[in-house]
Amino acid sequence: MRKIGVFVCHCGTNIAATVDVKAVAETLGREPSVVVSEDYPYMCSESGQNLIKDSIRDYGLDGIVICSCSPRMHENTFRKAAASAGLNPYMVEIANIREQCSWIHKDKAEATEKAILLGKAAIAKVLLNTPLIAGESGVVKRALVIGGGIAGIQTALDIAEAGFPVDIVEQKPTIGGKMAQLDKTFPTLDCSACILTPKMVDCAQNENIKIYSYSEIESVSGFVGNFTVKIRRKARYVDETKCTGCGLCTEKCPVKKVPNEFNLGLDNRRAVYIPFAQAVPKIAAIDADYCNMLKNGKCGLCSKVCTVGAIDYKQEDTFVEERYGAIVAATGYEIADVSRYGEYAYNQSKDVVTSLELERLMNAAGPTGGTLLRPSDGKHPHTIVFVQCVGSRCTPDKGKPYCSKICCMYTAKHAMLIREKYPDTEVYVFYIDVRTPGKNFDEFWRRAVEEFGVHYIKGAVGKISPRPDGTLDVQGSDLLMDEQLHISADLVVLAAAIEPSKTARSLATMLTASMDTNDFFTEAHPKLRPVESPTAGIFLSGVCQGPKDIPETVAQASACAAKVIGLLSKDKLKGNPCVAHSDEMMCNGCSNCANVCPYGAITYSDKEFRMPDRTTKTRRVAWVNPAVCQGCGACTVACPSGAMDLLGFSNSQIMAEVDALCR
């Protein structure tokens, strides 16, 4: 028989005024296994704790029940006290006789009776408690950053600066992401490439950073501190170790009509290409969909001109497997499809463009060399209309239900830059609201209006009609004037909604990280843990978590890096010992538990069992990784055979409580 000690706290008068604490201690003291039962004014005080510690030692207690305030308040205090007296901290149970008894009842007899019952339930439970030891697991001191945009770059640089190796996996042939495509950045109007490309170079030169460009995540297994990731290195048909990035092949390639994705298809590139001049790594890649040699074996020109013999038409996808302690998702965003809003005629006219296309049209390295020209006829546009909120703030059937957050500011930027460079151009912006919270942001858009004379019209555009003379008839509303107006525009710019990368969902599945209905990664807590996924060891950087601009992205990226560094600095991770465990003798191998586990903590393997008749039998059984399990218990109920149980809240413990309370 176990020896249990009971300690009833008065909490000054908080408990003692409504509960007859002496009676409680006395009654519980008569319970069969209770060898000591005491009451004390403040059990959490040092002397109260000493009373507990002394009793544990003096009576050789196997478990203790504290009748006091909520376990959410002092469970840890009493566990520590128990531990210091040599009792396993998980042999402590709390009966909550303050919040759930003395504070809510007035009748002393009633409250006392209830307190006794709660105490009995706690005794019933503690009799079935088992000593638990929090498991420890090691930490692989290497981080993986998925996505090489500004978010991924910043996170990687910060982690590398702290001295930890970090790998960047980027699906494009170069890092840089969307920011590399931008012309200027708000609210300072500094050149995007000028501030980004040095960081890209830093990445390439930092010896702690390894860049896997033109690569994708193939699979992820493991758990916090110890992930194993398989990376697919797509064949680029150019030997990375040999290519010097001289660009000769890209000049000689005879296939000239490949839509240039870096310029959003506004001009063409060759079948062998380097995305842009400052690409990192600056290594060519061959586009297998267009290359004549790869398609029908005829050509081979690039191979002939390459002086270092880097071209390799036989290259195949290869795989790298690496272990990481932490993984950062930095998968960024895409521009949502605006062609579904046919009234804006995006598909009908080349002169209706998205804002990102406009960035390229204004960029000195873009298809027009930085001179703003209409895509249809290459002429200067004189009247430009901007349409805000295209696809944002819609009901879910009509588009994105969220505000894309960056459009108000970049539109003000575009309008301002255009008016500055081409003062003869009239610029109109149709807006629903102008949303500019942020340092120097509101001042920025006011400048667009006040100093640069941009016409802001509160209203919407209903229809854009291409006319035979090449102009666009923009029919809109001006809600303040209460009129419908027509503007004959040369160029229309749509502030398209942004959406998470299409690759994010499959990645989230691999990471067992949760996502919201819009495919943004969910944070562990929206306010207090904004850069972590609820899945331990997975961190979030940049727009993959929600729309944000560059300053915010960089801030979050660094915050994310701090969290990663915090994790990688630890040698051992201590787990919560109240985790699920599966009795493999009873496990059916049905996978129900794995199906409900939100953390991917459960894996299966075939295991041999010796049968009573000395034969062996192979069965598929579940195993819970205690380092990953968070102890919710969903699996215990999903398990049909009862093989799965939860330490600290086992079936028998809970049923003992039920029995005690229903008696």
């Binding site: 703030r393 919407a460 209903g462 809600l479």
Partner: protein, 126 residues
């Protein structure tokens, strides 16, 4: 609190409270110029419960029910259905038929299709 508003909302099935006041309905409306109250104002006034103003306005007879606003509204508010509900409340009142069968001969010519008469009666009379 407001019977008329409730009726309009019930008849139209429109979720006026979803409106974010972007004005796209009014940007799209072909009858805009001929209206005193425009589609977005219909939605707003109904949401505010000011249906009487709309009932008294000629605007209710100007909507073509072309459904462009319904199609393009980013919030699924369906302004044309709001206009239609207000108009029906107006014409259903005793003696408030906008168009009477007796008016028709004067408005008709030899080419006018029967469809126009049927539609107009359905829209303007009870």
């Amino acid at each position: 609190m407001n019977d008329l508003k409730d009726r309009v909302v019930r008849m139209s099935g429109s979720r006026v409270e979803r409106c974010m006041r972007c004005g796209k309905c009014s940007a799209t409306c072909p009858s805009y110029e001929d209206m005193e109250y425009h589609p977005h104002e219909f939605v707003y006034l109904v949401e505010r419960g000011d249906v009487e103003k709309l009932l008294a306005s000629e605007s209710i007879y100007k909507c073509l029910t072309c459904f462009a606003c319904v199609e393009r509204c980013p919030r699924g508010v369906e302004p044309a259905k709001v206009v239609e509900a207000v108009r029906l409340i107006a014409v259903r009142e005793q003696g408030k038929n906008r168009l009477k069968p007796d008016d028709l001969p004067a408005l008709t010519d030899a080419d006018l299709p029967g469809q126009a008469l049927a539609t107009a009666l359905r829209k303007y009379a009870k």
